[in-house]
Amino acid sequence: MRLLPRLLVLSGCLLGTSISEAQVSISPSPGDDLFLEEVLPLLEERCFKCHGPHAKRLRGGLMMSSHDSLIEGGDSGAAIVPGDPDASLLIELVLEADEEFRMPPKGQLDRSELALLEKWIGLGAPWPGGEELLRDVRDIDLDAGRQWWSFRPPAEPEAPTLLSPASRALVKNEIDSFIFARLEAENISPAVRANDAQLVRRLHFDLLGLPPSPERARDYAASSDPDKWAQLVDELLAKVEYAERQARSWLDVVRFAQTSGYERDAEKPMAWRYRDYVIRSFHDDKPYDQFLRQQLAGDEFENPTQADIIATGFYRLGTWDSEPDDRAQADLDIHDDVLRTISEGMLALTIGCARCHDHRTDPIRQEDYYSLLAFVQNVAPYRKPKFSFDSLVLRALDATPKHRKQREDMRENSQAHAQGVVDRFAVELLERHPEAGQAPKEPAARISFVSKKSFQKRLSNDDRLQLYILKTEAAGLEDSFQGNLTWALAAIEPGPETAATHVLRRGRSDSPVKEVLPVFPPVLCASDGEALPSNIRPRESSSGRRTALAEWITDPRHPLTARVMVNRLWQGHFGAGLCETPNDFGVTGARPSHPQLLDWLALRFLESGWSIKAMHRLILNSHTYTMQSSRVTPPGAALDPANRLLWRQNLRRLDAESLRDSCLAVAGSLNKARGGRGFFPALSREALAGGSKPGLGWEKSSLEQRNRRAVYTYAKRGQLDPLLEVFDLCNPSLPSGSRAETTVASQALSLLNSRLLGRSATSLAERVRAEFPGQLEAQLGRLYGLTVARTPHVDELQLARDFIASQTQAFAAGEAALVFRASVPDRLELEYLRLLAPEDLFFGPDQGWSFVRGQWGLRYNQTEQFDRLSGPAALLDESRFSAGEVSLRLSFLKGTPFVGLLLRARSEQSGFAGLQLFLDREAGEISLLEHRTPAGTPTYLARAPLAIDESRDLDLIVRLEDSTLRAWVDEHLVIEYEGLAPDTTGGLGLRTWGAGCEVRGLVVNDRIIPVHEAMSAEQKALASFALVLLNLNEFIYID
C-alpha cells in the first residue's frame, strides 16, 4: 500500500512547510563538515603539540591554528597550497621516506589519514570559524531560530469555521473543528462513529491495555443514557489499570530498567520504586509540571516527601558500564545520557547532537549543550550501590540520626552472625569428613581450611554449593545490609559547591576548551537575557541548579514542554502523534500535521493545571477519536492513505504488554497485585543460554507472580522477556518515544508455541468449561465474548464445532508418551542454580515421578555444568524393582545426547545411587554403570557399541536377576553382565538431556506404567480452539 498521500505532491507539503521558511540557514559545506569532523581532530591530535596555539615551543616557526597561518607557513615556507595537495609541503612531509624528516615525527599517519588531508587540501582547505577554532561552530542566528514552529510559544489559534453542515453536525468539541476543517480543505469527509462494541473495546485497550469484560460491553450497548460514553471514559480513567498502562509509555521515554546492562548487568536496587512512583502519579493525575519537577529536583524541595526523593531515581535509570575503558569519560557519558533523556523526553529536543559540535540542523550551539549540562552535572555519577548513609546513589528515606548508631550495631551483629553461620556449617562439614584430618579451632582459620581445594574435593555437590553461597552472602553483607529502612535510588549531589563545567572538544572529558555557566538554550528563551537563570539558590547539600532547570522546563511559557506531552497523549489514542516524531520537534523531526490543534491542546493542558486525565477526556470525547477505522473508503483512501489527516480512526495492533496481559486476563489468570520489585518470567533453556553466565541475576517466581501484568516484569536489560521482545518491546537502553510495529513469522510461532500462550489457552478453555459445563455452544459464545467482545456468527459456531470434533478425535488417537528433557542449559550460574528445584532443572511427567538434582561440577567463574553421567534424573515413585523385566520403547528427540535408564536406583543426598544403563548417542555405545554413591565417579561394568538413529524408535528390554543383568535393543542382546552386588535394591528412573526423549509402553514386571494425562482429548481440543482465538487478527488488532 502507499505510505504517503498523493496529496503531498498535489497540494504542497502537508506535514509542514519547507525548512527554508523557518529561515534557519544552517547547512555547512561538505568541506566544512570534513574539516570539523575529521581534519581538525587529526591536526589537534598529531600536529598541535608542536604547531598549535598552546605549543610549548613552536617548531619550525609553523603555526597551524588557521587557514591563514598555514599559508603563511614557517621556516620552510607555506605549509599548504589550497586546492593542490601535491604541491603542499604538508603532504610532502607526511609522505617523506626519511624518518628523520617525516611528519609527524612519531607514528606515521595511516593511509586514510593521509587521504583525508589530501581531500581537505583539495577542497581548498576550508577552515570555518577562522582563527577561532575553539569550538566546532556553525553560524547560528538565534532570532531566526526562535521562529521554528516548536520554539515559538503556543499561540491561541482561531477556531476554524466549518462550511459543511454534515461536518458541523458531527462536531463534539473543538478538536473536531480543527480536524474537520483540514479535511474540508481536501474535500474528505470525516468517518462516522464506530459501533458500541468497537468503541468499548477500543477504549479499554487504549486506557487499560486490557479487554472489556463481556458484561461491561453488554451493559454499555444496552444503556440508552446519552452520557454513557463520557461516563465510561471517567470510569476507566479512575482505574489503577489505567495508570499501569500509561506509566509504561513514560517508562519507555525514560528508558526504565532495573539493571545496569553491559557485562555484569547487575541490579540497580530499588529502581522499582521509581516505576511504582510513576504508576502512582498517573493514578493520582498528578499535575504534569509537578511530575517533572519531582523527577528533576525533588530532593531540593523544602521538606521533600518520600515520593519526591524516589522520583529523582530518574537520574539513575540509564545503562552503566562497571568496567569502562576510561572512567572520567564514562562518568561524562552518564551525564550525557541523563541530559539526552531530559531533552528528548521532556522537550523533544535532540540536544545530544551538540555534544561534539554545534547541532547540525537545530539552532543549538555546542556551548548550549554544556551550559545545560551544567545544571545536572553535580549529581554524583552512578556507582555500585551500597546501602550506607554515605552512599551517593542510594538514600534511606526514613533514616533519622539515631539510625546511624543502630545501623552500625545491627550491621556488626549481622556480620558476626553470618560468620557464625558459615563457621557452624564448616564444623558440620568437618564432622562429616573426619578423614580430612585435624582442622584449626579458630573460626576464621576453620573456614579457610574447609575452603581449600584439598578439602572441597571430598564434598558433595550440594555441600560445596551451600558453602560457597554462605560465604558469598557473608562477604556481601557489608554492601547489601538494608536494615529495617526504606531505601531508594536517588539523585544525590556531593554538596552545594559545583565543579566547573567546560565545553569539551569532541565531547572528550580530557579536552576542556572553555568554562561555561548554567544557562538555558537561548533559542528556547524569548531573549538571550531570559536564558540566564535568576533563581539558583544552593541548598545545604546540593547546588540548587536542578531546581532552576525544573522551573524553567515547567514554566507555562516554555514553548516545548506542554506541546511535547499532549503530543504523546494524542499518540496514545491514535497510534501516531500530531507530530510523528515525539522525541524530536527539531528540524530533522517531522512537522506536525495539525500545528494549530497541537497549540490549542497545549494551551488547554496548561489551563487545566497540567491535568493529564483532563487531556484524555478532551481527546476521548471528540468525534475524531470515536470514528470508525475499518472501512477504507474514497476519497480519503486515495488522497490520504496513511490517514495523517485523520479522516478515520487508525486500526492498531496491541502492543507487547497489552497482548500478553490480555491473554492472561481472558484466561482468568491475571493477578492484579501491584508494585514491588517485580517478577521473573519463566525462561526456557534456549532463552537462558544466551548469557556468559547463564542465569546470572535471574530468579525464579511463582506462577501466581508470573501472572501479574507485564509492567511488573523485572526489567533486566540483558534478559528481556522473549515474548514481549518479539512484539516490539523497545530497547531499554535509549529513550524511546514510539514503538515499532513489525509483522514477522516469529510472532506467530510465539503465539502458537510459547509457554504463556499454551497456558492461557488451557486456562481459558477450562474457564468456560467450568462456567458452562457440557454446553459447547455456550462455551463458544463465552470464548468469543471474552476474546473479541462479541457473539459468534452461526457459521463461526459451525466452524468451531467441526474443528473441535476433528481435533478431539485426533488428540484421542495420539499415543501418549512419557516425556523427559532438560529445562536448563548445560551450565548455570551458581546462585541461580541454587534457586532451582530439581523439577526446574529436569522436565518429566507431572505425576508419579519425582526428581533429583544430580551432580553439577566443573566449576568455572561462578558457573557449574551438569554432570553427563550423574546429572539430574527422574525417579519413578513406588517402583521397588530389584529383579524381573523392564521393557519400553524409546524415541531420542532431535539432538539428544544420551538416555540413561536407572535401575535399583535410590535417591540420596539430592542425587542417586544404583545402576544406570547409559545409551550414549554421541559416543555410539551402550554401557552399564554402577553408581555406588551419588557424588563418586561411577564404574563402567560393561560397554558395547550401539549406533542410535534419532529417526527411529528403540525397543529396550532389561532383565535383572540377583547378580545378572541382560539388555536387549531391538531384540539384540547388547549387554550381559554377571557380578552385580545382589543386595542392592531400589527403583526405576530415567535420565536424559537436551531435547530429551519420549518413552512409550513402559512395562515393569508386567505392570504397565500409566502415562498420566492432565487433560482429556475434549479438553485439549477446546484449548486448541481457544488458542485459535488468541491468534486471530480480531483479537490482536483494535478497530
Binding site: L4, A642, S684, N753, E796
Partner: protein
C-alpha cells in the same frame, strides 16, 4: 494503519534525498516494513560480490602474535623488560613474552602462520589478514559491542542487523540474521551484541541452536497441550486461524497489514520444516563430516570442547548460507577467561584449548564454500574484539613462566577476511614487537565500512533515523573502506 514514526521519517528522508521528487517510492524498504515485510530482499547500492556474510567471532581476543602476526624480534627479546603503555596513560615496566610457536610462510601470498594452526593455513591464499586494526576499548564488554555495532555503548544495532535492514533476507522462512553460541555460554553483555537497537526487532539476530529445536518456540512448549499435536493437527489449526482471519479481513479491505500478518502463519508453519532441515546433516557425505572435524577425537583439556561442536556449527552455517540467510555469526568461546580466547592465564594453554576446536572446522568451511562456488559470494570474517599484549601479564622480572598470559590490546588487532570480493594478502603491520599498529593502521570503523562495501553498501548511505540524526554503523566520524583488502 500507523507505521512507526521512525520508518516514516526514514522513508521521507531517503526518498526526498534521492530525487527531491516525487515523495513516493513503492519499492522503499520502509514501505515494505510498513506492510509487514521488513525482511523483503532489497537491492544493494552498487553491484557487489559478497551477498552473504559469515562472522566467526573469536570471543575473548585471540593472541595475534601467536597466530598470524609473526614477530621475530619479539621472540628474540623474550624475557627482556620494557616500558610499555598498556592501558591509556598507564605505562609500566613489563617483561616481553615471545611466542613459543614456530612460524612459517604459506602459499603464494607468503603470509605467516604459527604451528598452533594446521588446517587454516592451507587456505592462506584466500585470506586477507589485516594486522593493523585498532579499537577504542580495553574492556571486553565495550570492545565486543564495538566490533558488533561500531559503538562502545549498549543499544546500537549489530552488523548483522544492518545487513538485514539494508539487504533483507533471501529466504523468508528463515531469519535474516542468525547467531550461534559456544556451548560454554554466550559472550558478555549477551543479547546487546546482536540487538537491532533502535531499529525494529525483526532485524535483530535470532539465536539458532545446532542441536534440538534450532529456534525459540519452533515447537510447542512441552507443558502445552500443543506439544501433543501432530503436523496435520497444526495445519488444521492454522487453517482455522486463516479462515477466521479472512472473514475479519473482508470487512477491512485496505488494511494490508492484516493479510500480511495472516501470511506469517503459513510462513511459521513452513519454518517448522525449513529450520530443522538446516540442522539435518544426514544428507552430508562422510568426507564432508570429516572435513569439518566432526570425527575428531575428544579433547583432553577439561575446558576444551570436541572439535565436532564448532564443526557442526560451521557445517550448519554453510547450509544456512545456501538457504539464503544474510548473515550468520558464530561465537567461539563463551563464558570467561580460558573458556574463551582471553588468555590472561596462559597463552599456550589457551591455544591448546581453542585452536583444535576451530582449526579444522574453519578450514573445512572454506574448502566447502569454495568447492560449491559459494565462497566468491560469501564474505567470511574471522577475529575477536581486540588483540593481545607482547608482554607477559604475570611474571617477575626476567623470568617467564610456562603459564604466562597476555592482557588485552586494543591498539593492535588482527582480523582476516576471505571470500566475496576480498583481495588476499597481508595488509598493515604492527610495530616490531607487535604492540601497536604502525603501518596502514585503521580504526575498526574502517573495517565496518569495508564489510559493507564488499556487500555493495555505501556505509554513508545506509542510515536509520534515531534521536535526531541519521545513524550509521560507522558512527559520526568519517570512515573509509580499506581499499587494500578489496579485489
Amino acid at each position: 494503519m500507523a507505521p512507526s514514526s521512525n520508518s516514516r521519517r526514514a522513508f521521507l528522508k531517503s526518498t526526498a534525498a534521492l530525487a527531491g521528487l516525487p515523495l513516493f517510492d513503492a519499492s522503499s524498504l520502509v514501505a515494505q516494513l510498513a506492510d509487514g515485510r521488513p525482511l523483503a530482499p532489497k537491492a544493494p547500492h552498487f553491484p557487489a560480490k559478497a551477498k552473504r556474510v559469515i562472522f566467526l567471532f573469536m570471543f575473548g581476543g585471540p593472541s595475534q602474535m601467536d597466530l598470524f602476526d609473526y614477530k621475530p624480534l619479539l621472540q628474540e627479546n623474550s624475557g627482556k623488560t620494557i616500558s610499555i603503555e598498556k592501558r591509556r596513560g598507564d605505562t609500566q615496566e613489563m617483561v616481553l613474552l615471545g611466542s613459543q610457536r614456530k612460524f612459517r610462510q604459506y602459499g603464494d601470498t607468503g603470509q605467516w602462520c604459527s604451528d598452533a594452526l594446521r588446517y587454516i593455513p592451507e587456505h592462506m591464499d584466500k585470506l586477507a589478514i589485516i594486522k593493523s586494526l585498532q579499537t577504542d576499548s580495553f574492556a571486553h564488554g565495550s570492545a565486543v559491542l564495538q566490533l558488533n555495532s561500531g559503538q562502545t555503548f549498549q543499544g546500537h544495532p549489530a552488523l548483522g542487523a544492518w545487513l538485514a535492514y539494508g539487504l533483507g533476507s533471501e529466504n523468508d522462512a528463515l531469519p535474516g540474521f542468525v547467531v550461534m553460541h559456544d556451548p560454554r555460554g554466550g559472550p558478555i553483555s549477551g543479547p546487546a551484541n546482536w540487538t537491532s537497537g533502535y531499529m525494529p526487532a525483526s532485524y535483530q539476530g535470532t539465536l539458532f541452536r545446532s542441536t534440538g529445536d534450532p529456534l525459540l518456540n519452533l515447537s510447542a512448549h512441552t507443558n502445552s497441550f500443543r506439544s501433543s499435536m501432530n503436523r496435520a493437527m497444526e495445519r488444521e489449526q492454522i487453517d482455522a486461524i486463516g479462515e477466521l482471519n479472512a472473514r475479519h479481513q473482508a470487512a477491512r479491505a485496505g488494511h494490508s497489514v492484516l493479510a500480511a500478518r495472516n501470511a506469517t502463519y503459513d510462513l511459521a508453519y513452513r519454518m517448522q520444516e525449513t529450520a530443522p532441515e538446516a540442522l539435518d546433516l544426514s544428507g552430508e557425505d562422510e568426507a564432508t563430516l570429516e572435513m569439518y572435524g566432526l570425527n575428531e577425537p575428544a579433547p583432553s583439556h577439561r575446558l576444551a570442547l570436541p572439535t565436532s561442536l564448532f564443526g557442526r556449527q560451521c557445517l550448519i552455517t554453510r547450509r544456512l548460507i545456501e538457504r539464503g540467510v544474510r548473515c550468520v555469526q558464530i561465537y567461539h568461546g563463551g563464558g570467561h577467561q580460558q573458556q574463551t580466547w582471553d588468555a590472561h592465564h596462559g597463552v599456550e594453554e589457551n591455544l591448546a584449548i581453542h585452536c583444535p576446536e576451530v582449526d579444522r572446522p574453519i578450514a573445512g568451511l572454506l574448502t566447502d564454500l569454495e568447492r560449491r562456488g559459494l565462497l566468491e559470494e560469501t564474505l567470511v570474517i574471522w577475529g575477536g574484539e581486540f588483540g593481545r599484549q607482547p608482554v607477559s601479564q604475570v611474571a617477575g622480572a626476567g623470568q617467564i613462566a610456562s603459564s604466562a598470559g597476555r592482557d588485552h590490546n586494543p591498539k593492535a588487532n588482527t582480523i582476516w577476511l576471505a571470500g566475496g570480493g576480498v583481495r588476499p594478502g597481508s595488509y598493515g603491520e604492527t610495530d616490531e614487537l607487535g604492540a601497536e599498529a604502525a603501518v596502514n593502521k585503521h580504526h575498526l570503523r574502517d573495517l565496518h565500512a569495508t564489510i559493507l562495501h564488499l556487500c555493495g553498501i555505501d556505509h554513508t548511505r545506509l542510515t536509520f533515523y534515531n534521536g535526531g540524526l541519521d545513524r550509521k554503523l560507522t558512527g559520526v566520524v568519517e570512515a573509509f573502506p580499506i581499499k587494500g583488502v578489496m579485489g
